[in-house]
Amino acid sequence: MKEILMLAAICVPLLGAFLIPIFGKAITKLRNALALIFVLTALLCSILLLPYAVADNDAVIHIYLPLGLSIGFHADALAVFMAITSTLVSSVIVLYSFGYIKDYPNQNEYYLMICLFIGAMMGLVYSSNLILLYMFWEITSFCSWRLIGFYRDRTALIRANKAFITTVLGALIMLIGFIGIYAETGTFDLSVIKGYTLPSWIVAVILVGILTKSATFPLHNWLPDAGVAPSPVTSLLHAAVLVKIGLYAYVRLFVVELNIDKVFETIVPVIAAVSALLSAGAALKATDIKRVIAYSTISQIAFILLGLSCGVEVGLAGGLLYILAHSIAKGGLFLCAGIVEHALHTKDMSKMGGLIKTMPVTAISCLFCALSVMGIPPFGGFFAKFLVIDEIVSAGQITLGIIFIIGAIMTVLYLARMFSLVFLGEEKAKAHEGTKVMLASVIILAVLSLFMGILINLPTELVKMVGGLQ
């Protein structure tokens, strides 16, 4: 049963994606519904897997192949947690797309890629083999490439290419590390090499891939540029799924499965801290609304990485909670930005202002999400931030803790600036509220952000079980 659930979570969106163009030719509504159903199936299956995973009764599929290339899927609590996080936000994003994307050409491809992307994400989180992981990793790169270039204008295409080249290069370098592991251990199977202590050069090489995917300085440059994509796509890539892949890989490889040298407990946090501060600074100056949010993503991802990498077990919990909170809130922010962009046909914040009067729902949702990202209670981001910094400090990294707080202050500054420029002040442009579906999506995310804070016990319980912590 649990194995079937896991397979369904992976295969339904992954294979279903290819049905979408077939249906899309005939009935667009059915196609849209199918896309949503595929993603929801993945979500549902992952949720149903949770009890098994929590009870340490993990679903495991292992098919032997020669050369250590086994096909292995393993739904442990961490995987299930990541799957739920990403599909939760993804479902909302797919819903939002119904409103956002409906007037553009190439919708078949759009939904195909979205579903494929989510399917790949599912495959990635559940896979227990490095090559499988790499495979799904590349599929997500490919999908993001198509999705970023959705509008087909020259800038979009060049940026899409840039994102693809950068992430694929990172992944290739990571693959060197995987092969290094293979050369040392003779297998790609994570369950076999669990507990193996990695040589430092392999860690460094794999880190390049991870940092590229999760857009950490200095490998982040593709991410702000990818803002040319449609907003649901940016939301999916920058908030919900793509950037989280790197973090997931970090946790999976370096925290849960394999051991790394102590020195990385200093190096990675330092990189993360630099990344966090630099991108926060860049966010303060950006005038493009999506760029602000994108830089904010880089900064927040760095915070998460900080939490994950400081070497304390509970830091993992904080980091995971942060991942959840950030997915929801940042997804919401991008979607709100999408509504604004849709209404005003510009992304330049200097041309916006006073939109709270014409689009109150968007504004309030955006505010909720922004507050969550800032880490202000009762929104979800608060506890995540609190736990992460708690863990950083309890790992004895006081300086990093201070940097974290400076970064958090900058987060407040740039998000406050963004919010006031876009929604407050004098009304500069005529605008209209988004469609009902779009509003519903952002409301869902905003409310989720709120409830994640108020009902923090649920996610923390989940995270606790994921980390196997007491």
């Binding site: 020669p66 050369l67 090559i131 087909r152 020259r154």
Partner: protein
């Protein structure tokens, strides 16, 4: 065993029959010859697969045969699983080329095309079957001459010029090969593979000798010219670009591999997997990957990009050979097959574009995805496979090659090969962006999707690419079951 005997003989008889039929047939009946040759090519694919199954069930590693009129006749041909894979590729690519030529080849040139193609197939089949270096050289010459004429069939100035360059380079290769073989013959007195392998293993006096090394260098250089490895590659792009697309399919899809890579593989094996040879191949392989890709980044002609891409991909095969070992061997064979498939797809796409848009200058194309969805999708998949994006076929062969390199302690080369494959992605992204992606210019709005054989070829090859990619686990299991790994 008997079945195997017939099958193996058929590999010689089929193209010979084709050649004879094509030489005798009248121009007015050329279509019949076309169908016949297509059927033969398809039959070769089937036979090769059947042969592989036979090998598996008989559990043998090679089978020698000859055409016995008297009993004294030696077995001049040897069939191996690797040869069968090559024969499969030959059949497949020839079939594709025929499908493409059906549309692209002008009617007055079809017959010559068919004749030369059958000669070419004989040459290639011969190369993969022979067990003697001199015979191998002869068949290389057949390939050389027939491809030279095939390239120059367009009879444009560029076509002839590039054919001339090919001829010159090709004769340089012949000279080197012949000189090298002469030296070897001088030292050993025979050019039989078995004999050479045996003498390499037993007699240090023969194998460790300046003249022997010189001969090795000459033979390898000659074969590298045939392969189109950098810096011996200069004939290749011109030839690919100016030839008819159906010919490009052949050249890129199989000729450079049969006459180059496959022979190199055999020769390296025969020369005792000398470290110096492997190192030279590895170094040249990395250079080839890098330089080919860097050239490809600058090209504006669809087929020229593909040609340089082929150069670049040859580098991986060279690396595979240099890695040696069973994994390197399997990786190289698989890459040969995969490359044959996806490069043929891409050239077929080129043919489709040429048929519909009448230009292959990528600056004049754009946004054709909507107008030519099948061509666009197939080219995309072929590109992904070339760039080594899993789970498509290209990834697995590259992976095997790189693992093999790693195991052979060529770690730096492995890493370089991996990282350099980003260039593959780069030039293909440029290609995709300029041709299929992006916005459609006004004058291309009315373009229609290509029909008929070319479309069929595109779809067929793409399915193979995907199937091999997804079915790779089965290939692995099959290999393990037959005790190869």
């Amino acid at each position: 065993m008997r079945a195997l005997q017939y099958v193996s003989m058929l590999f010689v008889i089929i193209p010979l029959t084709a050649l004879i039929v094509c030489s005798l047939i009248k121009r007015s009946r050329q279509n019949a010859a076309f169908y016949l040759l297509s059927a033969f090519a398809a039959a070769q694919v089937g036979l090769a697969l059947y042969g592989l199954m036979l090998f598996n069930s008989l559990n043998i590693s090679e089978y020698s045969f000859g055409f016995h009129i008297t009993q004294a006749v030696a077995d001049v041909f040897t069939l191996k699983p690797a040869s069968l894979v090559m024969l499969l590729c030959i059949g497949l690519v020839s079939f594709t080329s025929l499908l493409v030529a059906y549309k692209t080849m002008p009617a007055n040139k079809k017959l010559s095309y068919l004749r030369l193609l059958s000669a070419l197939i004989i040459g290639m089949n011969g190369i993969v079957l022979v067990n003697d270096l001199f015979t191998m050289y002869l068949f290389i010459e057949i390939i050389g001459i027939s491809s030279f004429v095939l390239i120059s069939t367009t009879k444009t100035e560029e076509g002839l010029e590039s054919a001339f360059i090919y001829l010159v380079m090709s004769s340089l290769a012949s000279i080197m090969l012949l000189t090298g073989l002469a030296f070897i013959f001088m030292r050993t007195g025979s050019l039989k593979f078995e004999y050479l392998i045996a003498i390499n293993n037993t007699s240090a006096e023969v194998s460790q000798n300046a003249l022997t090394y010189l001969s090795y260098i000459l033979v390898i250089s000659g074969l590298l010219i045939k392969t189109g490895a950098v810096p011996f590659h200069s004939w290749l792009p011109d030839a690919h670009q100016s030839a008819d697309t159906s010919v490009s399919v052949l050249l890129s899809g199989i000729v450079i591999k049969a006459a180059g890579v496959y022979c190199l593989m055999r020769v390296t094996d025969i020369f005792g997997n000398l470290y110096a040879i492997r190192l030279s191949l590895a170094i040249l392989g990395v250079i080839t990957i890098a330089v080919g890709a860097m050239f490809a980044l600058h090209q504006n002609h669809f087929k020229r990009i593909l040609a340089y891409s082929s150069v670049s991909q040859m580098g991986y095969m060279l690396l595979g050979i240099s890695a040696g070992g069973i994994l390197g061997f399997i990786g190289t064979m698989l890459h040969i097959f995969n490359h044959a498939v996806f490069k043929s797809t891409l050239f077929t796409n080129a043919a489709a574009l040429h048929e519909e848009v009448h230009t292959l200058d990528i600056d004049k194309l754009g946004g054709l995805q909507k107008q030519m969805p099948i061509t666009a999708t197939t080219s995309l998949i072929a590109f992904l496979s070339t760039a080594g994006i899993p789970p498509l076929s290209g990834f697995w062969s590259k992976l095997l090659i790189i693992i093999a390199l790693w195991k052979a302690n060529f770690i730096g080369f492995a890493a370089a090969a991996l990282v350099l494959s980003i260039f593959t992605a780069a030039y293909f992204l440029r290609l995709q962006m300029n041709v299929f992606w992006g916005q459609t210019p006004e004058h291309l709005q009315s373009i229609k999707e290509v029909k008929g054989t070319i479309r069929f070829a595109e779809i067929m090859l793409t399915i193979i690419t995907i199937a091999v990619g997804l079915g790779f686990p089965f290939i692995l299991l099959f290999l393990e079951a037959s005790g190869i790994i």
